[in-house]
Symmetry: none
């Protein structure tokens, strides 16, 4: 029993140290995107590489296997469930790290960095030919990594990659959910576009929209949603993201003077991520069980805010006067009915990050199908551009004019992230399920939002999602919160109510 | 020979990794002062503590003693002097690190960070009582560290601390230089104030001075001095400083709308530091010999710009039209003769960072005397505020109204930096000596500055100081550059020429 405590206590100390190194890495990554002058890139790459190596060495230290064995051997059925879950997460993280030899970690990191650099130029120049060999090199290493992890976890290679982003996520489950949506969505889209046609056109109010005013409005809405300025910041970066650590969450957005809706909804999306991080259990800061459960619940929290709460008529009731005040807006384009049509507009397009919630899943389903075949070795990288064109035609009826707005639009594959894409749509499904449960538990929730009061919504997700950390699987957390594991019923009901109602 | 190469090569790899951890720490420190919300302080303290421990473990790794012994045993008289100096620096850094147990390093880092956070509030609230126990805790750790290093180096404890900031610096040498100034300066000050009275009053042009305009002017002058925006940034912090790494130098300043001279000269000061960092030898990036020699030469580079070059009539000739343009300044107050009087105004005051170059050394001499007694255990922290008041009265004839503008004005002690203060005045002495040598070598140097051309000055310091890194001691670098080791002759000559001439 003492030995057990010693081993587990030793592990807690080691994982605390690893978390601090990862926290430092999060600041370096944020700074790279927000502040760093171009001439600092080489030094920063060296710093990041050194700290990544340090974290890897700490988690794969020779003593770790014995400590995990000893702590597990001495675990009791009656132990604190948080301690049990923490130990299980420690084992999972150790398995991921120790499955892959240091040589492969380094080769992956180098190939991913080089490929991402080439991607930036290649996308701008619409030059797939220069990117293809980089993706081929990287994919070979990803497949090697997937095989090593598949062996260590006893999983299919794709599932072994997926498990890094969504612990416990399995392709067999995703196949069922996505097959359902693949049949359902095209038929829905037709009906949605018909209904939208009858409802009248959404008009973007005339700009320009000064960036200082956009920023002020973003900060106002962040605060309304519950973002605590003593524990985070809003800055500008080329690709919006949420970084930092739970008690100092750094979110970013980007502004263009000809549109304010994009920065606003982008900021609300990142605020949803930030609230999750900040609401993780205080008692388990810097321990694995204190981390966000995975990318599905993470995306559910951003989409709960962006799509469920903040494209509702109630939100527009609250926000329309603020928008008018920020931009001195007058006339019909600034009325709530037009703004609601604007925020709920559906339109099949080429670009995933610009997609509405009806067409977004098709972008994900395309990528998921392609990356599964790539990882399985059933498809050559050279065949990607054509497969992309065919998929976009089939799923969304749109014609891909060039690879820059086709297969090269996302950073994920060029940066080595295979197995990440499905979490976007799984997160959208989870968001609908959680929001439905929150509304059922508190019928005053949406009326409160109409008054700018997000406290009831925040209280519900704090209790049922944020404070749960990694105590249980995504399905276990969803079941405790909503009575059921992940399923598409609430998502379909939401789309039909919003877009056909 | 092969073994020697192996040992030395191994050491270079290890010190490169240490430098990367220290580079990451520099970013974390900069972020703490510039961006971090208050609620992030505890997490940041943990990150900094973990990385400090990592750096300490790397430098005190069990293999290091053997590697240093082997590399030294195999060194040849004919080896590249940079390699010899690099190895000597490695040994010095190893001695500093291995003298102190890891437990103490971690405790120091955490206590210093927490004390600095308390200082920020305490200074603002003029609340010495809340700061005093933090300083007591920290000083106890500093004295423990000083004793351990004194033992390892065979030095007096204060010298052992000083050696971290100024390698080879010794209190016995400082005592002689400071005793000279302590006799010389009060008598000089009287004559300077007389001469100043005869010269007519310096009038601060009427404000307010918009912060955006101040910032624009700061950036204009940074660029003129040679600061490369692709390799650094200017931001705002409460206590101006230079941080980051040589290829990404982060400098800060602070603005008030009622005065522009302060932000401007502060920015020029930090630009001098930044130019030194950026000019360190490219071939030795991330190696000990590639570091700045010490804080005396570092301060000499900031004061060379701020005091020697940029309070000269030639600089005012160049800068006065820019100042008028920035603030739409008109009339006699904006003419070069008044601005020169303003920039050369001597006035005994309470605040070190606002002091002119005639009274500045007295601020340092006070702090040096107090910190020597604190480190020796001859004085209690509780007695500091009164001793401060008495010292300011005796040395400068000024009355300290409150502790915020007295003993709490500087971040040094609250952040654990004891042994640092004397380097400011030693740097001022070195700056005068270097500037005199640069002018003698290039009589066109000051006329070029009158045209806004700092290239001749920058070329001289790049060659004679920056590019020298840590190749030799401060005195060796000064002797190569000026023909003599550090001495007060040029400093006295400079003060007399400028203020009595």
């Amino acid at each position: 029993m003492d030995a057990a405590n010693d081993a587990y206590g030793d592990l807690e100390g080691r994982f605390r140290r690893i978390a601090n190194v990862q926290g430092a890495l999060a600041v370096l990554h944020w700074d790279s995107a927000v502040n760093m002058p171009s001439g600092g890139a080489a030094a920063r790459a060296d710093q990041i590489s050194t700290l990544s190596l340090t974290a890897h060495e700490l988690i794969t230290a020779p003593r770790m296997a014995d400590l995990l064995d000893a702590a597990e051997a001495n675990a009791q059925a009656g132990d604190d469930p948080w301690v049990q879950a923490n130990l299980a997460e420690m084992r999972r993280l150790w398995r991921h790290a120790s499955a892959v030899p240091a040589r492969l970690v380094e080769a992956m990191s180098k190939a991913a960095h080089e490929s991402e650099m080439v991607w930036r130029e290649a996308r701008a120049a619409n030059d797939w030919a220069s990117l293809q060999p980089r993706i081929e090199t990287l994919l070979a290493l990803v497949r090697e990594q997937a095989a090593a992890k598949a062996e260590a976890f006893g999983l299919d290679p794709y599932d072994a990659l997926l498990d890094e982003y969504e612990p416990g996520g399995r392709a067999a489950r995703i196949d069922v959910l996505f097959a359902d949506l693949e049949t359902y969505l095209p038929e829905l889209l037709g009906r949605v576009l018909d209904a939208q046609g009858r409802r009248g056109e959404a008009r973007l109010p005339a700009g320009p929209f000064p960036i200082a005013a956009q920023r002020g409005l973003c900060e106002q809405l962040m605060q309304a949603l519950g973002f605590d300025a003593a524990h985070g910041r809003l800055d500008i970066s080329h690709h919006p993201f949420t970084g930092g650590v739970p008690d100092d969450v750094r979110i970013t957005t980007r502004y263009t003077e000809d549109d304010f809706a994009r920065s606003l909804m982008g900021t609300i999306h990142e605020t949803g991520h930030a609230l999750y991080e900040r609401g993780l259990p205080m008692a388990w800061r810097n321990q694995p069980v204190g981390n966000a459960r995975g990318m599905v619940l993470h995306e559910s929290q951003s989409l709960l805010m962006e799509m469920q709460a903040c494209r509702s008529p109630e939100f527009i009731t609250f926000a329309a006067p603020l928008m008018r005040a920020a931009f001195a807006g007058e006339g019909a384009d600034w009325q709530a009915d037009n703004l609601l049509r604007l925020y709920q507009r559906v339109s099949p397009g080429l670009i995933r990050v610009d997609a509405d919630e009806v067409t977004y899943p098709s972008h994900v389903i395309l990528r998921y199908g392609l990356e599964r075949r790539l990882v399985a070795g059933d498809m050559a990288v050279a065949d990607l551009p054509d497969a992309w064109r065919q998929g976009m035609k089939r799923l969304l009826g749109v014609t891909v004019a060039d690879d820059a707005d086709g297969v090269m639009q996302d950073v994920h594959w060029p940066s080595g992230a295979f197995g990440y894409f499905p979490t976007y749509t799984l997160g959208a499904i989870a968001a609908a399920q959680l929001f439905a449960a929150a509304k059922a538990a508190n019928p005053g929730l949406l009326p409160a939002i109409a008054k700018g009061d997000f406290a009831p919504l925040l209280a519900w997700v704090r209790t049922h999602v944020h404070s749960q950390g990694s105590l249980g699987t995504t399905d276990e957390i969803l079941t405790r919160a909503t009575g059921a594991p992940l399923g598409v019923a609430a998502y379909k009901a939401h789309l039909e109510a919003r877009y056909l109602g």
